[in-house]
Symmetry: C2
Subunit: 212 residues, 2 copies
DNA sequence: TTGCGATGTATCATTGCGATACATGGGATC
DNA sequence: GATCCCATGTATCGCAATGATACATCGCAA
């Protein structure tokens, strides 16, 4: 188990953590946060919600008629199903959001995990960012060598496409590096200044969790 | 019909256009050209090949035992199925590669079309590049407004993620613009110098084809 | 009062992917 | 000269995600 459905579950938990809402709005919010082309389909959302209901992570919020205190009264809202987090759901969220294994930095999941960095420790954040960075660097190596190997033998357009792709990934690596540095500056104001650049030193403090 | 399977079909046709090969190599080549994380699975490739055989676009190349003239003789190759293009396949390739409709600049297809730009006219290339650019600019607009609307109300990490995404797309737009300019410089050495920056002037010469 | 677009819930067929099974060739290593 | 391992090679199957679609109500403008 624990396919990539985890990231959808995390997104739903995270959004309901902020405020109860119904499926339609969840779809929009999740779509927004995993942004750029990817849209969340109802065919994925509703089965997921059903599953989460069965698991007791979320519950239907029957009394939900409040007027949002702002100007417009917004009466109405009949028959809609509003979901809210349960205690189990909060616990599950805490577990998922602090995971640092591959599932946290795989392409499809990284964005969601990043979006909820606000609910994590700097420790966790750094682990995830470094995981993603080394994943990207692996790809870089592979492509750079294959590019060098095939140079002069391929079409100019193919070359241009690969070059552009390469630069995009390099750019993301730089971005990650900046974020990591920034996190470290906050996390460890000053200690022995040791902590080598990568390759986890593995003193592993706190309630670590790189399951999976 | 005409789903996004078109892009896989185009890729296969394009690669077989260069040289006959068997499925295993096709998978590697296609994976390489749609690059960056996406891999072509056998579960997609073989059904596609079967379909294309049925449609008469490709055929099994039985006499394929040639020694590649280079040093290493490379004897062997028993029982392997080598595919080659048929006349219909070449025709189909010409059709697909010169298409300028949405299917040519949609996320999943653009890369493949770009990879075979060498087999198109400058006219076609410009149309596809402009199509993709305006598609990206639409997204940019949408996200920029939603970003402005939610500013100050969202998490710093969410903001940072959106900012990075925004910059990536802006960067791709710039890249496309450079390519378009470069194509135009080659295509139209000098005329009336009119041709406004975007919003197709629609004089639409030559055998246009924006089907779909 | 009619009509349309946004909101809202729900399901289904298709399809694409990951995993896997199976088979062989070419080198290493001993 | 046998053994092991990895790259090459063909093929299928279960599962999950997607895109499409159906259906219903609400607010609002013409």
């Amino acid at each position: 188990m624990a396919k990539r459905g985890d990231s959808l579950e995390l997104a739903v938990l995270g959004l309901l953590h902020e405020a109860p809402m119904h499926g339609y709005e969840l779809r929009k919010r999740v779509t927004a946060l995993l942004g750029w082309g990817r849209v969340l389909s109802y065919g994925s959302l509703y089965p997921c919600l059903k599953q989460m209901l069965r698991d007791g992570l979320i519950a239907e919020d029957t009394e939900q008629d409040e007027v949002p205190a702002g100007g417009t009264p917004r009466a109405g809202r009949r028959g809609k199903i509003v979901y809210k987090l349960t205690a189990d759901g909060k616990e599950r969220f805490a577990t998922l959001v602090s995971a640092t294994g591959p599932s946290a930095w795989e392409d499809d999941n990284f964005g969601v995990h990043f979006a909820f960095f606000g609910s994590t420790t700097a420790e966790t954040r750094i682990r995830i960012l470094e995981g993603r960075r080394s994943r990207l660097e692996e790809r870089l190596d592979g492509v750079r060598t294959s590019l060098a190997r095939s140079r002069e033998r391929v079409d100019a357009y193919t070359l241009e496409l690969q070059r552009h792709g390469l630069e995009s990934v390099e750019r993301e690596v730089r971005w990650l590096t900046e974020l990591i540095d920034s996190e470290r500056r906050v996390d460890v104001p000053e200690t022995t200044t040791s902590t080598s650049t990568s390759t986890s030193t593995d003193g592993t403090p706190s309630g670590a969790d790189n399951r999976e």
